[in-house]
Amino acid sequence: MSGTDLDALPDGGKHADAERPGVTEESRWGKSATGASIKGANALSLHVPEPVGRPGDEPNFSHVALSAAGEVSRPAVDAYAGDIKAHATSLVRVLSDDHEAVGEWAGATSLALCVQGLRAMMKVRAYDERMLIAQRQGKTSFYIQCTGEEAISCGQRLALERGDMCFPTYRQQGLLLAQDYPLLDMICQVFSNSRDKLRGRQLPVMYSAKDYGFFSISGNLGTQFVQAVGWAMASAIDGNNRIASGWIGEGSTAESDFHSALVFASVYRPPVILNVVNNQWAISSFQGVAGGASATFAERAHGYGIASLRVDGNDFLAVHAASKWAERRARSNLGPTLIEWVTYRAAGHSTSDDPGKYRPKGDAEAWPLGDPIDRLKNYLIKQDRWSEAQHEQTWTALQEEVRAATREAETYGTLNEGPKPSALEMFEGVYEEMPEHLLRQRQKLGV
């Protein structure tokens, strides 16, 4: 429309176009609508979000709203969602630039737990580095690193209890490794070999470990978020005290699953933590394409009356403290909490992605929230609970642990070499019991 006041026209402008020269009923409905295009002073236009920088530009993160460490208050666990709306735009941070734990959110995390968290994050990074090499060597077809995001999954897992269930996306390997889930089992899944617990059926990194509270991962995005809410509702229906933790990337909050999850969480107030990992990039789309420039992802919760926090995802202490706060709320029957974790995807989306094609070089290094491992290390050194030498020694030991597990996994085969998943089991698990027609098709295939 050209900005004409349609209400002023007879019949509300229904035939306004038809009265304009060259515009016919046909063009209104699309037979040859090119003729209906109106470009003038009053023509409407779309807002098309563009990232601050593209390849060739200097890194620029001036658009990321930050708070100083210790600046944001810690509300009571039973705070009313409507009273803490400011927490969706500020940023909960504990670790200061001079490596101190400051403010109301400090003190929730013991030094022993920090050491445990540091080891877990380092293990995740050592594992990612080794699996990337394995992918380059053809031992798997595909791998997803979580470089720079290690604190979020490790910190939250250490705030949960055994029996709680996480519904992860593909960058939460820390949920498993923070519990010392067997590396061998993870690598065998990535290699899709004869010892793969998922028997060659799932994409690499799509682990599933019920005993460790790790549901599984879906290739079609967002679906796990509603399932987490459903699981939490069932926990309440069953009258037990286990809670659920749903995970989603900021890009996938666009899926209707995210909004359905929030509606159900709002209506039934089940014991669930709704984690939005805002790592700035969804493959090649920056967070503005998911609406991140119009409001924070934490603010999405407000329309549903759900309590929410926006937290520094590269600050292990902030992650653990905020997770513990949400965990307490959930387990005390105070309902759901949405947490936006502000972080940066330092690596590519996956081994099939080249971020050099769509974002400035040096972005990861310029990220204002730093590296989560360095930050926790520096804090522990300042507290006299860690040293550079210990760090080096631990890193070497973890690398060796991962290398040894990789070597052992290789004895069970890799993607293209050695023993493979059994074709005999290929049709198992389609149904609880293999029906007659699947037995027949297996015989027919001669496997």
Binding site: W29, A254, I283, M426, H437
Partner: protein, 334 residues
């Protein structure tokens, strides 16, 4: 392909670049056409088939959308109903699950439900197929889901030549057309003429003539069927191979004409055999050419199971020239 040779085109392009050219021709030809989908602009799609189009046409013609397949298809339906000619991109055909109401109950039925007043010149490109180790949720061939919906047209390009011509034909059509691409064919080379041309929707292509056996093969299975035809011909079975090109509408006449000549026929597709499009084709053949058949219609498709990730399992799962020849031998008593 016969048409390309007739065109005297010496130029060869991979399937992936033929897609780019098809979309580019549409954007040049139709001012009110635009592309919308996930990772289509900055990255030129995860498979690179829109590469260069953002630079050439700008951000008002190529939109990186939020990750919402429901939103993308809804955008396509709404925009086309008001006169634009959008090309929407569904990264993987498996994502139909995320947007099926917009496809099945809106896009397909809107013209009918609006008493004919709504025209939806909408083109949807989507990527199907197994063989790339992408497992159960990124490898499916779900043509049967969409061929079952009155109001939609469904085409499946098997060559670079077809990919370009079908995208142009789809975009010029005033009905919603879903172009089902194949990820394993992206590197396939073939002749592609310069400039715009159309592959008519609803007309099958007799790719290889033969006298005493017919294979109707869709999508990537065309190439497996052609390999199988060579082997069968060496065994004395002069095999004709037909690429339906368009699944909805389906060119029954060309298939029936072939069967009346050869008297024996097999239907091959990559999708799960049970309830696949092959069942419909087999039924149409026996309805229209029962008296000409010297053997039951054979069907080859994937087993009744999700697609496994492991290449060792996937290679057993996906139909091949070998399984086509084996089934033909069984059918023909060889």
């Amino acid at each position: 392909m016969a048409e390309a040779i007739a065109d005297n085109s010496e130029r060869e392009l991979p399937y992936v670049r033929a897609i780019t050219e098809g979309v580019r021709e549409v954007l040049l030809e139709q001012d009110n056409s635009f592309v919308a989908g996930e990772d289509v602009a900055g990255a030129g799609s995860v498979y690179g088939y829109y590469a260069g189009l953002l630079d050439e046409f700008g951000p008002e013609r190529i939109y990186d959308t939020p990750i919402s397949e429901e939103g993308i298809v809804g955008l396509g339906v709404g925009a086309s109903a008001t006169g634009c000619r959008p090309i929407i991109d569904l990264m993987f055909m498996d994502f139909l699950g995320e947007c099926m109401d917009e496809v099945a109950n809106q896009m397909a039925k809107m013209r009918y439900m609006f008493g004919g007043a709504a025209t939806l010149p909408l083109t949807m490109l989507t990527m199907s197929g197994a063989g790339a180790s992408l497992a159960a949720q990124h490898s499916q061939s779900l043509e049967a889901w969409i061929c079952h919906l009155p109001g939609l047209k469904v085409v499946q390009p098997t060559t670079p030549y077809d990919a370009k011509g079908m995208i142009i034909a789809a975009a010029r059509d005033d009905n919603p057309v879903i172009v089902v691409l194949n990820k394993m064919s992206l590197g396939l080379m073939g002749p592609v003429p310069e400039g715009p041309y159309e592959i008519p929707i609803g007309k099958a292509n007799v790719v290889r003539p033969g006298t005493n056996y017919t294979i109707v093969a869709t999508g990537r299975m065309l190439h497996e069927a052609l390999k199988a035809a060579t082997q069968l011909t060496e065994l004395g079975i002069d095999t004709e191979v037909i690429d339906p090109r368009s699944l909805q509408p389906f060119d029954t006449a060309t298939v029936v004409e072939s069967v009346k000549k050869t008297h024996r026929v097999m239907v091959v597709h990559e999708a799960v055999r049970f309830g696949g499009i092959g069942a419909e084709i087999a039924a149409q053949i026996q309805e229209d050419a029962f008296d000409y058949l010297d053997a039951p219609v054979a069907r080859v498709g994937a087993p009744f199971s999700p697609v496994p990730y492991s290449p060792a399992l996937e290679s057993i799962y996906v139909p091949s020239a070998k399984s086509i020849v084996a089934e033909a031998k069984k059918q023909l008593g060889l």
